[in-house]
Amino acid sequence: MTPTQSQPVEDPERVAAFEARVAAGESIEPKDWMPERYRRQLVRMMSQHAHSEIVGMLPEGNWITRAPSLRRKMSLLAKVQDEAGHGLYIYCGTETLGVDRQELIEQLLNGTAKYSSIFNYPTLTWADIGAIGWLVDGAAIVNQTMLAKASYGPYARAMVRICKEENFHKRQGYEIMAILAAGTPAQHRMAQDALDRWWWPSLMMFGPHDSESSNSDELMRWGVKRKSNDELRQRFINLTVAQAKAIGLVIPDPQLAYDESTENWKIGPIDWDEFWRVVRGNGPCNRERLAARRAAHAEGEWVRLAAAAYAAKQARTVSAFEAA
């Protein structure tokens, strides 16, 4: 939320009743009263999520035409198609809050909306498809499993449905990595290199440390988020370290160590300069990703106009028929 945006004055009694409902674990539905800031926070989060699904199609789509077997080609195509479905589904969920898809897409294309920074990294080898499924979808699952309990009903329900597919993506990605890791020396190198490049960015997907996260308190109080960034990140690390070991790949962190007292894997410092650099638009592919989305949108303009013109003509024909 930008500070220039006006902060609406809410009726404190309604806010208290609303917060009581959230605290009681009730689901908030589109027709229910909600504080304006709650609505805005949800629009922000849900649209960022939808945009991430859509932009996320690009790095993986980059390998559909080069997938090394017919089975892999089909499963990658199906995965990227699933992500399009997720985007569509969440855009529809966001529409229940009174913003339409067109408006949101406009914000993505003009650079005012954010999407997950992870998709500003390039996919350089086939192993990146494995690494993305395993790590990026894996991190998304940790986050979305929490969001499936979010207070806003349409978002929570979308997450339940989407999580099922993300689990499938993750299994598929991990399987790709396992096969590469156990394959020829060149394949093994490819797998390790992909893990080396995707490990830290995937940890950054959970956002800044709790102490630095500006939106967190309010989101927790309103039941939009149920766990902090650091809690979720730790959960992901604990799950993933064991998985890497199981297939003989090395997590690229010399300081990685198991802490017996907390039963957590402790990691070395995250490079937050890199995180903010990519968030602010200077990641390796920020420009390419937006340019690709803009190009698809611009090249598809005539198609959308044609469909609209055709639908309008059809509607006129029907109403003329009914008037007769």
């Binding site: 035409t65 077997s69 198609q81 394959g183 698809a296 090249e299 198609v303 013109a309 055709y310």
Partner: protein, 260 residues
């Protein structure tokens, strides 16, 4: 396996050739369609085109797998897809042309879709039980593909001036590649005579009435192209196929013998 007579080898290799043609058409078209994923005009079309691509590549996998088994030399669907050169591909030229704009893609889908539907419907009665089964499944899928492309041809033909012009141009450009769909040679005739395949020339009249009906309803006309391009069935392709295969095969070929 007993020693085969030359007649049997001849028969087997013809049926292999016939199946490879069916498989290659679908593999190459499916690959071209998959290039849209992430770049379609609307999100719904990213999904729809990916669906159709998945169906086609799925059909190709079954057809090439069946061809490889029949050949009996240890080539599976992946070997056939990834380790053959362009001159060994047997698809029609229509399916290998670059995806073009959305109008080109949609018009090609209509042209090949109607052909694929008629072909699959006929092949459901093949006395090659495997092929009949693949065709029965394919016919169900392709019925949807045809509806999808015909709907879009109507929308684009009846939409705006620009969409009508682009779609007419696509029809004009692609029409010269439709004749090849119906060319029958010894391979087709032998497959038809054996009750395995269908002679593609027998599908031409129905194809024309179907396609011309859709085009007419969309206000589009058929160009007066007299010359029809050909060559794909003999491995004489356009320049585009080599580039497409270079991309498609690069990873598989860079790691000989590797599993994925």
């Amino acid at each position: 396996m007993s020693v085969r007579t030359s007649g049997q080898i001849e028969k087997g290799s013809r049926q292999f050739e016939y199946l490879v043609r069916l498989g290659d058409d679908r593999l190459v078209l499916g690959h071209r369609l998959s290039e849209w994923c992430g770049h379609a005009p609307i999100l719904e079309e990213d999904i729809a085109l990916a669906n159709i691509a998945l169906d086609l590549i799925g059909q190709a996998t079954l057809l090439l797998g069946h061809a490889g088994k029949l050949e009996g030399e240890g080539r599976d669907a992946d070997t056939l897809a990834y380790l053959r050169d362009a001159i060994e591909f047997r698809n029609v030229l229509l399916v290998e042309l670059p995806k073009g704009d959305f109008a080109v893609t949609i018009v090609r889908q209509l042209f090949f879709g109607v052909f694929g539907l008629l072909q699959s419907e006929a092949l459901q009665r093949s006395n090659d039980r495997d092929l009949a089964g693949i065709a029965a499944k394919a016919a169900k899928e392709v019925r949807y593909h045809v509806r999808h492309s015909a709907d879009w041809v109507l929308k684009l033909g009846g939409g705006t001036d620009e969409s009508r012009e682009r779609t007419q141009r696509a029809v004009d450009d692609l029409w010269r590649y439709t004749g090849e769909l119906f060319l029958a040679d010894d391979v087709d005739r032998a497959a038809a005579a054996a009750g395995v395949g269908v002679d593609p020339s027998t599908l031409e009249t129905t194809w024309h009435s179907h396609v011309e009906d859709v085009l007419a309803r969309a206000g589009l006309t058929i160009p007066e192209t007299l010359y029809m391009q050909r060559g794909g069935r003999e491995g004489r392709h356009t320049e585009h196929l080599g580039h497409m295969l270079a991309e498609m095969q690069i990873v598989a070929r860079s790691h000989p013998g590797a599993s994925w």
